[in-house]
C-alpha cells in the first residue's frame, strides 16, 4: 500500500500503515463506484513518468461567506469561535483562536491554532493504537490528555476497535458523515473539550478525506464541450452546471481541486495523490507580519505535524510566557497596517492543498471524451438559496453582538 502517515508526521507500524491505507481505500471505493475513471489512480507509483504538481492549492480563508455577505462579514463569521469553525471553515482548514487575559483583565486573542489534519487519520490511529494517538495529542496540545478526554472512558484498551472508534468519535472526532457512526449515535461534531477548545484536527464532515477524493475523481474525466465541430476544454461553469453541482463552484477548495485535476486530464495526464496523502500548508511570507516594527520572533510561528513543504499544523502567535497578544502583531497589507485579531486574516495569507502527481500525457481515445452541454450562464455564488445558511448565521451573530438575543453560544477557549 502506498501511503505513509500524512506529512510523514508519525512513525507508523506496518500494521497501522496498512489500516490507514484501508481507510483511504474505503473512501476511494465509495466514490469510485459512481465516478469510475482511468484518469485517477490511488497509487502514485502506478503513474507513468510521474512528476509532482504544486498547482492545486488555494487560500485557506472560507470562500463562500465572502460571496454571500462580503469579506468583512465573512471574517466576523469565521472568527466567531467554535460556531464559526463549525459553520464556515470548510476549505480543508480549521482553526481556533486561543485567548488569554491581559494585565487589565481583558480577554484578548493570544494565538491561532490552524490544522489541516484529516479526522479519518486520527480516528484510524485512535482505533488501532491508543498509545500513539495519545502521544500525538500530547505533542499537539503540549500536555498529555487523559483517556477520558480522548475516549470518554478510563481504559480504551478494554474496548473493541469498533467501540474505540465510536468513543473517539463522541469525544474528539465527530461522525464525519460515516453512516455506521451516525447509526451508533455519534454526533456530527465532538463533544469533548480537546477538539472544541483547541484545534486538534479537522472535524467538519465536509473537510474529510472522502470529500477530497470525491472532488478529485469528479475532475478526473475527459470532459469537453463541442462547439462548431471543435472539441474545447470545458469551463468550470460547464462542468459544475452539467452535473448540477454548482455549489462546488462557490468556494476555494472544490473548484481548485476538481478543475486542477481536470486541467491535467484534459491534456491526457493521469493524476494521483502524492505520498503521503494529506492536506498541507504552504509557508506564508512572514515579511507581512511584524511586532513592534520588527520581524516576528521565530517561536511565534510554529509549523508542525509534517516536514517543510508538508506541514499540517501552524500555531501562530506569542507563547504563554510572552506579554504580547495576537492583536499586537501587525499585518501589513497594501497601504494598511492591521492588528491581527483572529484566524481569518492569517488564513488569507496561507495556501492549502494536497500534493499531487501527474503522469505523462497520453492520447485520449475518442470514446473516452465526455461531451458536456455548455453552461447557460455564469454560476451565481451569491444566490438567495445557497447563501441562506450564511445569511442566517450572520443574523445570529449580529443579534448576539447587539445583545438582543442569547443564541446558542460556545465558551471562548482560554489558554
Amino acid at each position: 500500500m502506498p501511503y505513509d502517515a500524512p506529512g510523514h508526521a508519525d512513525e507508523l507500524s506496518d500494521e497501522l500503515r496498512e489500516r490507514w491505507n484501508e481507510t483511504v481505500q474505503r473512501a476511494f471505493a465509495a466514490q469510485n463506484d459512481a465516478l469510475k475513471t482511468r484518469f485517477f489512480s490511488l497509487d502514485p507509483g502506478a503513474l507513468a513518468d510521474a512528476r509532482p504538481t504544486d498547482a492545486i492549492k488555494w487560500p485557506g480563508d472560507p470562500g463562500k461567506p465572502a460571496f454571500c455577505v462580503g469579506e468583512d462579514n465573512a471574517q466576523a463569521l469565521s472568527d466567531w469561535g467554535l460556531t464559526g469553525r463549525r459553520a464556515v471553515q470548510l476549505e480543508y482548514c480549521e482553526y481556533m483562536v486561543l485567548t488569554a487575559r491581559d494585565a487589565t483583565g481583558a480577554l484578548r486573542p493570544k494565538r491561532v491554532e490552524v490544522t489541516t489534519e484529516f479526522r479519518e487519520y486520527w480516528a484510524c490511529v485512535a482505533m488501532h493504537d491508543p498509545e500513539l494517538v495519545r502521544a500525538m495529542a500530547a505533542d499537539v496540545l503540549g500536555e498529555q490528555p487523559s483517556w477520558e478526554e480522548l475516549y470518554g472512558v478510563a481504559d480504551p484498551h478494554a474496548l473493541s476497535v469498533e467501540e474505540r472508534e465510536i468513543a473517539f468519535g463522541h469525544t474528539v472526532a465527530g461522525h464525519g458523515n460515516d453512516r455506521r457512526l451516525r447509526v451508533a449515535g455519534v454526533p456530527a461534531q465532538p463533544t469533548g473539550r480537546l477538539n472544541m477548545e483547541r484545534a486538534l484536527f479537522m472535524t467538519h464532515p465536509i473537510n474529510g478525506i472522502d470529500d477530497l477524493i470525491y472532488v478529485a475523481i469528479f475532475g478526473a474525466h475527459a470532459y469537453c464541450v463541442v462547439e462548431r465541430d471543435t472539441r474545447r476544454q470545458a469551463s468550470g461553469d460547464d462542468v459544475f452546471s452539467a452535473f448540477k453541482v454548482t455549489h462546488l463552484a462557490c468556494n476555494h477548495a472544490d473548484p481548485t481541486i476538481s478543475l486542477g485535476v481536470y486541467d491535467r486530464v484534459f491534456r491526457g495526464g493521469q493524476v494521483a495523490f502524492a505520498d503521503p496523502i494529506g492536506m498541507y500548508i504552504r509557508e506564508p511570507n512572514l515579511a507581512v507580519f511584524s511586532y513592534s516594527g520588527e520581524p516576528l520572533p521565530e517561536d511565534w510561528v510554529r509549523f508542525s505535524r509534517g516536514r517543510p513543504g508538508s506541514y499540517q499544523r501552524l500555531v501562530f502567535g506569542p507563547p504563554d510566557e510572552h506579554e504580547a497578544f495576537l492583536d499586537d502583531v501587525t499585518l501589513s497589507l497594501g497601504a494598511s497596517e492591521q492588528p491581527l485579531t483572529g484566524g481569518y486574516q492569517l488564513l488569507r495569507e496561507l495556501e492549502i492543498g494536497p500534493l499531487m502527481s501527474v503522469g505523462e500525457a497520453a492520447p485520449i481515445d475518442d470514446g473516452e471524451w465526455e461531451t458536456l452541454e455548455p453552461a447557460a450562464g455564469t454560476i451565481a455564488c451569491d444566490d438567495e438559496e445557497s447563501c441562506k445558511p450564511v445569511r442566517d448565521l450572520l443574523v445570529r451573530l449580529q443579534a448576539e453582538r447587539a445583545g438582543r438575543a442569547a443564541p446558542r453560544t460556545m465558551p471562548e477557549p482560554t489558554v
Binding site: D72, P255, D263, P284, S290, S336, E337, Q338, E351
Partner: protein, 426 residues
C-alpha cells in the same frame, strides 16, 4: 440591461490592443464636490467621444481620420474620488487601503508593499498615480494618444473654474517584436482568452451592485536598470525570466545551471506567439527544477485553476514600454507601464507578496547569485482604480457613484460588523 466592461480592455479572442498608450491622472480641485467633478468628467467623456468620431474642439467642421486611430478611452475612479463631498457610493471594497499600494517615503524610495521586493526609486518622493480619476487612452497612432492629452488640457483650461486638473500623464508604446526593453518576449503567458473575463470582471455581490461587471485597474510605472540587466550573461537572464532569449520558449530545466527549453518549441517555421505554439508553449509548463521555479514567469503563474478564483492570482495584463530622458547614466530611463485588470486587486497584491510567488523578490531569478536582480525594477508610480461598468443611459461609467444628476444613486454598502483596516501609514 446588463453592465459591460468598458472599452480599452482587449480581452476578446484575437483582439490586439493599439500600439500607443497614455494614462492621464485627474485631481479634483479644492472645494469641488463629487457631482461637480462628475459634471466635468461628463464633459470630458463627451470630448473623448467626439475625438473617437473624428471631431476636435478647436476645428469646428473639420474631420479627423479617426478610423486610423482606433482610439479607446477608459475611465477609472480612485480612492480620492470616494472622499469627495457628496459622493453617492461608498468606497468599493477593492479600493480599501489593504488593496492599495503604499506611498513613497517622504525622503524618496521605500517599499511598494511589505513583503514585496519592489521599491520606489530613490528619487521618487511622491507617487503621482493616486489621483481621484485616471483615463486610459489606447490607439493605433501616437498622435491620437498625444492629442487626447492635449485636448484634455484644453477642455479643462477653457473652464472658468475647472473642477479637475490634469496633474500628470504617462505615455508608452508596444514594440512590434513583442519584446520588452530587457529584450525578452513579454505578455506571452497572459490569461487564455476563455478565462479572461472571469478573472477580469467583478462578479455579482450583495453590497456593491454598481461595480458588478466592472473591474479594477492596477498601474505600475516600472523603470528597468538596463546597465545592471546587461551585466548579466544570457543564461542568468534566461533563468531570471524563465524563457529562451531568442525564441521566447519557456525554460523547462537548468541542469548544471544551463537553461534549456523544450526542444520541440517553437514549431519549425513559426514564432512563439503564433499558432500552434500558443497552447502548448506560450504559457510555461509547471516545472520541478528550483532554479527554473525561481524565474519570473514561474513565480507569477502557479498554474492554478480556475482562473475565476482569486486564489489563482491570474490577472489580465496590458503592458506598454516607455523611454524618457534622465540625467543619470545611461542618460535615459527605460521601463514598462504595467497595467493589469482583475476583479479584485488582491490577485495582484498577493502575487507580489506571497511566499513562493513574487514575495520578497524584485523580478525573479537568483538574487543571491546576481545581486543586481534585486534592484532590476524600481517604481515611479503606482495606483489602483475601479473601472465602473458601462451602463446604458449613464453619461459616463461610474457617474451614478459620483451623484451626477439624473441618475439613481447606487445602494450604499451594508455596514460590516468588523472594523476595516487602520489608516495607511502616512
Amino acid at each position: 440591461m446588463a453592465a459591460a466592461l468598458q472599452e480599452g480592455i482587449y480581452h476578446a479572442p484575437g483582439r490586439r490592443p493599439g500600439r500607443f498608450f497614455a494614462l492621464l491622472f485627474l485631481r479634483a480641485n479644492d472645494g469641488v464636490d463629487a457631482p461637480a467633478a462628475g459634471a466635468a468628467l461628463a464633459g470630458l467623456w463627451g470630448m473623448y467621444s467626439d475625438l473617437k468620431a473624428g471631431r476636435i474642439r478647436d476645428l469646428e467642421g473639420a474631420t479627423l481620420p479617426a478610423s486610423e486611430d482606433a482610439m479607446t478611452v477608459l475611465l477609472g475612479l480612485g480612492r480620492n474620488a470616494f472622499a469627495l463631498p457628496g459622493v453617492a457610493a461608498a468606497r468599493p471594497r477593492g479600493l480599501a487601503d489593504e488593496y492599495l499600494f503604499r506611498s513613497a517615503d517622504p525622503g524618496g524610495g521605500g517599499p511598494l508593499l511589505r513583503g514585496s521586493g519592489l521599491q520606489y526609486a530613490p528619487d521618487v518622493r511622491a507617487n503621482m498615480a493616486t489621483e481621484a480619476f485616471c483615463v486610459q487612452v489606447i490607439a493605433d497612432t501616437k498622435l491620437a494618444v498625444d492629442r487626447a492629452v492635449v485636448e484634455t488640457w484644453k477642455a479643462l483650461a477653457d473652464q472658468a473654474q475647472p473642477a479637475l486638473e490634469l496633474t500628470t500623464f504617462y505615455l508608452g508604446n508596444q514594440r512590434n517584436d513583442r519584446r520588452s526593453w530587457i529584450d525578452f518576449h513579454d505578455g506571452l503567458s497572459n490569461l487564455r482568452s476563455e478565462d479572461r473575463e472571469s478573472a477580469i470582471a467583478i462578479g455579482p455581490g450583495t453590497d456593491e451592485p454598481w461595480v458588478t461587471g466592472g473591474t479594477y485597474l492596477a498601474f505600475l510605472r516600472l523603470a528597468i536598470d538596463l546597465p545592471g540587466w546587461r551585466s548579466l550573461g544570457r543564461s542568468a537572464q534566461e533563468l531570471a525570466v524563465g524563457r529562451d532569449k531568442l525564441s521566447g520558449c519557456p525554460i523547462v530545466s537548468a541542469d548544471g545551471g544551463v537553461p534549456a527549453a523544450d526542444p520541440a518549441c517553437p514549431v519549425a517555421g513559426t514564432q512563439i506567439w503564433e499558432k500552434p505554439n500558443d497552447a502548448p508553449f506560450a504559457e510555461p509548463p509547471e516545472v520541478a527544477d528550483p532554479a527554473v521555479r525561481a524565474s519570473h514567469v514561474q513565480r507569477a503563474n502557479h498554474h492554478i485553476r480556475p482562473a475565476s478564483d482569486s486564489g489563482s492570482r491570474r490577472i489580465f495584463r496590458q503592458g506598454y514600454e516607455f523611454l524618457e530622458w534622465a540625467g543619470a547614466a545611461p542618460g535615459f530611463r527605460a521601463g514598462l507601464n504595467f497595467v493589469s485588470f482583475q476583479d479584485t486587486p488582491a490577485r495582484l497584491l498577493k502575487m507580489l507578496t506571497a511566499g513562493g510567488w513574487l514575495g520578497n523578490a524584485n523580478f525573479g531569478g537568483d538574487e543571491n547569485a546576481h545581486p543586481r536582480l534585486a534592484s532590476l525594477l524600481s517604481v515611479y508610480g503606482a495606483g489602483v482604480y475601479v473601472v465602473a461598468p458601462v451602463v446604458a443611459g449613464e453619461p459616463f461609467p461610474g457617474s451614478a457613484a459620483l451623484g451626477v444628476a439624473g441618475q439613481a444613486p447606487p445602494a450604499l454598502a451594508e455596514p460590516a460588523i468588523t472594523g476595516g483596516a487602520a489608516a495607511p501609514p502616512e
